[in-house]
C-alpha cells in the first residue's frame, strides 16, 4: 500500500517535471537565454501567481509572455496601456443591443480581462484609475461592473511589463498594486553567445511555431501538485525570520533600519513558500529546503520592500538589502 502511494507520488512529481521542462523548452525556442528568469515565470504560472517583468525596451518581455501564453494553450489577451486607457477598456462596458425582433436591451460587452492569460504591457503608462481596475481582477479573480460581479476564467494569469528607464508620462504602481504580483523579475541583457542565437533565430525567418503543451485542466492539476508539497516548520521559521527582518520596526539589521521605509507583508511569506515549492519539485524533491527559499527570495521580495529616499540617493538597491537579509538570518536552526 505504501509502495503504491510512493509510486503515485513519484509519478506526479515526474509529470510535473515533464510538463515544466516541455513548457520551458517551448519558451526557450523563442526567448533566448535567461534560464532562471524563464523558470521563475513558469513557476509563478504553475502557482497561479502574477508576474511583473521589468526591463529596458527590446529585451523580449512581451515576447516571453506571448510565447508562454501560446505554449500554455490558453486564451490570451494583450492590453497595451496608455494614459488615456480607461477601466472600461479593460473590464468591459454595458451597451444597448438591438435584438432580432427589434427590441433593445442592455448587454455587457466583456473587455480583454476576461481571458486566461493577460499581458498588461507597460502597465506603468496607465493612469492610477485604470491600474486600480486591475486590483480586484488580480486578487479576487473577478470584476465588478455596476452591481454585477463576474468571475474571470480559471486559470487566470497576469503578466505585466514595465520600463524602469522612461519616467515621463508614467504612473508608478502603488504599493498595493505591486503587492498583488507574486514575483517581480528583472529582465537582463542576454549573454554574448545568446546574441548569436537571437540573430540566427530572427534574421533568417527561422522562427518556429510554438506548440501548445498544456491545457487549462493540466495546469490546474499541476497547481494542486505544487500545493501538496510539504514545507518543514524549520523552513517556515526561516522564511518568517527573513520577512520579519525586512520590517524596520522589528529588524536587527542596520541596513534595513536605515534604508527601508516599508517591510514586506505576510503575503510575501505565501509567495516565497509557493515559489520554493516549485523549486523543490523541479529538483525532484517534495519538501522545501532553505536553499529553495534562497533561490526565490529576491524575486518574491524585490517589489515589496519600499526603500527610503536616503537609500535611493545613496545608491542602495533593494536586491543588496535582500542579500543582506538572507545572510543575516540563520538557516541552520
Amino acid at each position: 500500500m505504501r509502495t503504491e502511494s510512493m509510486k503515485v507520488t513519484q509519478d506526479r512529481i515526474n509529470e510535473f517535471k515533464t510538463i515544466f521542462s516541455e513548457l520551458k523548452s517551448q519558451v526557450q525556442s523563442h526567448f533566448i537565454g535567461q534560464e532562471k528568469l524563464i523558470e521563475d515565470v513558469i513557476g509563478a504560472f504553475f502557482v497561479g501567481g502574477h508576474v511583473l517583468l521589468e526591463g529596458v525596451p527590446g529585451l523580449g518581455k512581451t515576447m516571453l509572455a506571448k510565447t508562454l501564453a501560446e505554449a500554455a494553450g490558453l486564451s490570451y489577451e494583450r492590453i497595451q496601456c496608455t494614459p488615456d486607457l480607461m477601466p472600461s477598456d479593460i473590464i468591459g462596458y454595458k451597451t444597448l443591443v438591438e435584438t432580432e425582433g427589434g427590441s433593445h436591451h442592455v448587454a455587457f460587452e466583456t473587455g480583454p480581462i476576461m481571458s486566461n492569460f493577460i499581458l498588461v504591457d507597460e502597465i506603468n503608462r496607465a493612469t492610477p484609475k485604470t491600474q486600480s481596475a486591475l486590483l480586484e481582477a488580480m486578487q479576487e479573480g473577478q470584476v465588478t461592473v455596476g452591481r454585477e460581479k463576474m468571475k474571470l476564467p480559471v486559470p487566470n494569469f497576469f503578466i505585466a511589463t514595465q520600463n524602469p528607464v522612461e519616467h515621463e508620462g508614467t504612473y508608478p504602481l502603488p504599493e498595493a498594486q505591486l503587492d498583488r504580483f507574486l514575483i517581480k523579475l528583472n529582465v537582463q541583457y542576454p549573454d554574448k553567445p545568446d546574441y548569436h542565437k537571437i540573430i540566427d533565430l530572427t534574421a533568417y525567418g527561422k522562427v518556429a511555431k510554438v506548440n501548445s503543451v498544456l491545457t487549462s485542466e493540466t495546469l490546474l492539476k499541476m497547481q494542486r501538485v505544487v500545493e501538496e508539497v510539504e514545507v518543514p516548520y524549520s523552513v517556515i521559521d526561516y522564511i518568517v525570520d527573513i520577512v520579519r527582518a525586512s520590517q524596520p520596526q522589528c529588524s536587527g539589521l542596520d541596513i534595513v533600519k536605515s534604508n527601508v521605509v516599508l517591510g514586506v507583508s505576510p503575503r510575501a511569506v505565501q509567495a516565497i513558500v509557493m515559489m520554493a515549492k516549485v523549486r523543490s519539485l523541479i529538483d525532484d524533491r517534495c519538501s522545501v529546503s532553505c536553499n529553495d527559499v534562497k533561490s526565490v527570495v529576491h524575486a518574491a521580495l524585490r517589489h515589496r520592500i519600499i526603500s527610503s529616499f536616503a537609500a535611493v540617493s545613496s545608491g542602495v538597491d533593494i536586491d543588496s538589502i535582500i542579500t543582506e537579509l538572507v545572510g543575516f538570518v540563520d538557516d541552520t536552526k
Binding site: 502511494s5 507520488t9 501538496e228 518543514p232 517534495c286 541552520t332
Partner: protein, 449 residues
Amino acid sequence: MENSLVIEKLLNPISRQYKRNKIKSAIINSINDCMKVLLFWLVLLVFLKLLFADLKPYLDAANIVVFVGISVYFLVVVIMSAIDKIKSIETALVVDQITNPHDIVVSGLEYEITGRKSDFALFSISKACSILSDFEVTKVCIMARPLRYKMILMVLFLIVTYVLIPDHVALLNNNDFNADAALKTENQLSTDNIPGVLQNNKTDANQVARERSLFITANANSQTSAGDSNYITIGNQENSNAFAINQSLSRKMVSDNKVNEYQEDSFQMNSDKTASSSLSNLSESNVKTGDLFADTADQDNQLESDSNDKKEKGNNNSSGRSPMLDDNASAPGRELGRAGKKNGKPGNGRGGLGSVKKSRATASIMAGKPVPVFIKSRQNKGRSKSIILNSPPGRDIDRDMTLADGLEHESVIDKSVVSEEMETLVTNYFKELTEYANRKHESNTRQDK
C-alpha cells in the same frame, strides 16, 4: 506508523560515531587552547625568573595555580563533551551537510517526529531513509583544528629552560640591575652560602692575587691629571672582593681595548712602584685586578665629569651666563614664518603652523602653569579679507579738471535762491536787532552808574 522512528534508528550509529569524533575534537581543541595559555605563561615565567629572583617562591605558587587551572579546564571540556547528549536533528544536519544541500534527512526526520502523513511527507521520509541507509558512518567527521605540534614543542622547550635556569644566574642578573641590592646581598652572603660559581670566581681572583704577590699602594697623582689621589687599598675582605670581581666582569665583559691597555700599563707601573715601595702595607692592602679594572673605568667617567664641571665653572665665572658649550644649537630666530620642520630639523616653535609653541608669559603667570599656545590653521591660503579704511574724502578723479568744471561745480553748490532785496532786508533786520541790544545794554549800564 510504519515509518515511526525509522530515521532515528538509522541515525543512531551515525550519532555514536559523531559523538566519538566530537570528543576527539574537543580533546584536540582543548589541548591547543591549553598550550596557548601555557606558552604565554611560560614565557612570562622565564622572564620573571631571570629578572626577579626574589619572586621565586611566588612564581612557584603561581605555577601550581596555573597548571592546576589548565588541567581542570582540560578535564572539564573533555568530560562535558563526553556527557553531552547528541540530538538526532544534529546528526541529521551533519548527514545532510555531507550528502545533500537540501536538508532531506532533516526534513524527513521532522515529518516523522511531527507525524505528518501526507503522500509528499511520506515520500520525503522514504527519501531520507534511503539516504541514511546508503550513508557510510566513516564519513562523519568534525572539522577540528589540527593539533599544534610546534606549540607543544615550544612549551616543552620553555619548561626545560625554566627548570635549567640556575637560581644564582637570576640572582646575578638581579644584582646587575640593582647595585644597591647587590651590596645588601653581598653583606648577607656568608661563605657557606655563596653559590658554586661565585666561590669559583672568588677562588680564582684570590689565586691571581697570590700568584702575582701584588701589594700595591698606588699614588693617583702620578696616574691621573685631575690631581686627585687615588689609593687602591684592598683588604682581606675576600667575599666582597670576589663579588666585586664578578660584578665588574659582568659589567665590563665587552670593555674596549683602551681600557685594557690602560689597565695593563697601570698594572705595570704599579708593580714597578710596589717593588721599590715599602712592604708595610702588605698586611693592609691587597690589590686585585678586578678592582683595578673597575676603578679605571670609574676614572674615565670621573675625567668626563671633571671636564664638564670645568666648563660649567667657566660659564659661571664669566660676566654673564652664556649657554653651555655643549649647547651649540642656535637661538631660535625671531622672524615670522612657518614653524614645524625646517631643513629636516625640528621647528623652533615660532610663527606659523606647528605643534606646541612657547608658553605665553602672562597667561602662564596668571594660570600658574605653562600655557601652551596652539595655532590651528591650514596650510592652504585662507579666505581673502578686505579691509575698509576710514579715509578722508579726497579727489579720486585723475583727469585734469578744467576751469569750467570747477565753476560749474561751485556754481551749482553756491547757487542762491534768495533775492538781493530779501537778503538786504534780512541783514538789516539782524543789524537792527544787534544795535537795539547794544543800546539797551548801554542804557542799563548808565542807570547802574
